[in-house]
Amino acid sequence: MNADDWLRTLTAELHQRRVAADAARHVVAEAATHLREGGGDPWVVFGPPQQYAGAVVESIGTAPGPRPGPVRLHAAGITKRYGRRSVLRDATLTVRAGQIAAVIGANGCGKSTFLRICAGLMSPDAGEVTVSGRLGYCPQSGGTADFLLADEHFVLIGAGQGVARGPARRAGRAAARQLGWEAGGDVQARHLSGGTRQKLNLTMSTLSAPDVLLLDEPYQGFDQGTYVNFWDQLSRLRDTGTAIVVVTHLLNQLDRVDIVLDLTPARETGWHAPGIQGGRP
C-alpha cells in the first residue's frame, strides 16, 4: 500500500467512524503534508490506517449521528414452530428510520425465518409486524433469474415501481457501482461469480428506494473490498433515513449497528440492546 492508498483508506475509515467531515479533511491533509515533507512509509510513521483512525476518534470524537426518526419496522411477539420444534419464541424488534439492526444467533436459530416473516414471505404462528413505507428484501441466495442480464433485472424491478427502462437501468448501474461493480455487461446472471451475483441481489433490493431494508447475510462470496463497500453503503442508506435489518454472524461488525437482536435460544429472545451488546453507542 503506497501513501495515496494509505490516505484513501484513512479517509474511508474516518468517514465510517463518523468523524465530522471538516475534521476528517483536516486530519487527512495534515497527514498528507507530513508524509510529503518528512517522507517515509505511512505504515511506519502512523501505523495501520484503521489504528490511526481509531486514535483520531479517541482524540477528537465523532460527529453526532442523525437522530433516529419515526418507527419504520415493529415486529412484536413473533413465534414460529416447524412441527414440534420451536424456532422463534416471542421475538420482538423495533427499528426506526436511520438505524441499522443486526439479527444474530447460532445456526438454525431462526434468523432467516424472522426476516422472512418481517418481509411477509412467511406467516408466523403468533405475533405481528408493522411496516411504515416501502419494503426491500435481499435473500441469502437465489432471488435472481439465471438467464437474464443484470440490466434486465433492473428493468424488471423498476417496472414494479412504474419506473421507465432507461432510468431503472441507470439507477441499477449506479447502485452496483457503490459496491464496486460495473453492471452494464452482457453477462447472464448464471455466469456471474457467487459474489457478483450477490451484488446483483443486493442492488435489486435497494433499487426501489425502500424505507425498510431487510438483508439476509447478503455478503456471501464478497471479497474484502466489496465487504467494506457493503458496510459503507449501509451507512449511507442509514444516513438517508432507511431502517435496515441485517442478518449476520460476523460479530466484528456489531460496532457499526445501532440495535442487536440475538435469537440464540439459550438467552431471552427479543432483547434490544443499543450500545451494550456491540450496538453503536
Binding site: G142, T144, S208
Partner: protein
Amino acid sequence: MNRLVTVAEMTLRELLRRRGVLLLLLLMPLTFYLIRRDAYLGQSVRSLLLGVGWAVSTAALFATTAARELEPRLRLAGYRPHHLYLGRMLGLWTVGLVISVPFFLLPMIDGADLRYGGLAAAMLCSVAVAAPFGMLIGALLPRELEGTLLLLTVVTVQMLIDPAGSGARLTPFWSSREIATWTVDNTDHGYLSRGLLHGLVVTALLAVGVAAVASVRLRRRRHLRHLPVG
C-alpha cells in the same frame, strides 16, 4: 399494463436463451410426427399436436419453477400476483405460437391433404391449454423433475387412452385430438365445435387454477400491516 408486458418480455427472453432446452423441445413434436409418418396420417398429425402440447407445457413448467424464488421479491417490488402469472402466461403463449409455426408448415410441406384451418385451430388449442397446464404443475410441484414426470404421465395417458371413452374428455389435450380428427378425417362439424369448447373450458379452468395457487402463494400475509410513511 407495463408490468404485465415486462414480465411477458422477460419470460420470452429467458426461454429464448435456453437454446439447448428449446432445441430438445422442438425435436419432440418432430419425432412424434416422423415416427408415425409411414402409418396413418391422422395418427401422425395427432402425435404432432401432442408433441407441441408437451413442448409448451415443459417450457411453462421450467419457467414457473425458475421464477419461484424471484416472484416473492417482485411482489415486494410492486407487482400484484396477476401481473406475474398473466405476464408469464402471455410470454409462454407467444413462445408456443412461435414454436407452432414450423409444425403447422410441416404437414403442408409434406404434402398432406388436410383441412389446414382445422390444423391451425388444433395448434392454437394445444398451445392455449399447454401454457397454463405446465404453469399449474410448476406451481404445485416445486421441483422440475417431479413436474416433468407428471407431465410425462399425462402425455402418455393422453396417447394411450381410448379417445371415444368418457374418461378421455378429462385429459387436457383432448380438444386438439378432436379437432385433429375433423382436420384429417373430414368428419362432421361436431368434432370441431366439441374440440373448441373443450379447449376453451380447459384453458379457462387451468388459468383459474394457476391464479388461485399464485394468489395463495403470493398473498399479503395477515400478520403484516403496512402503514404509509408518516
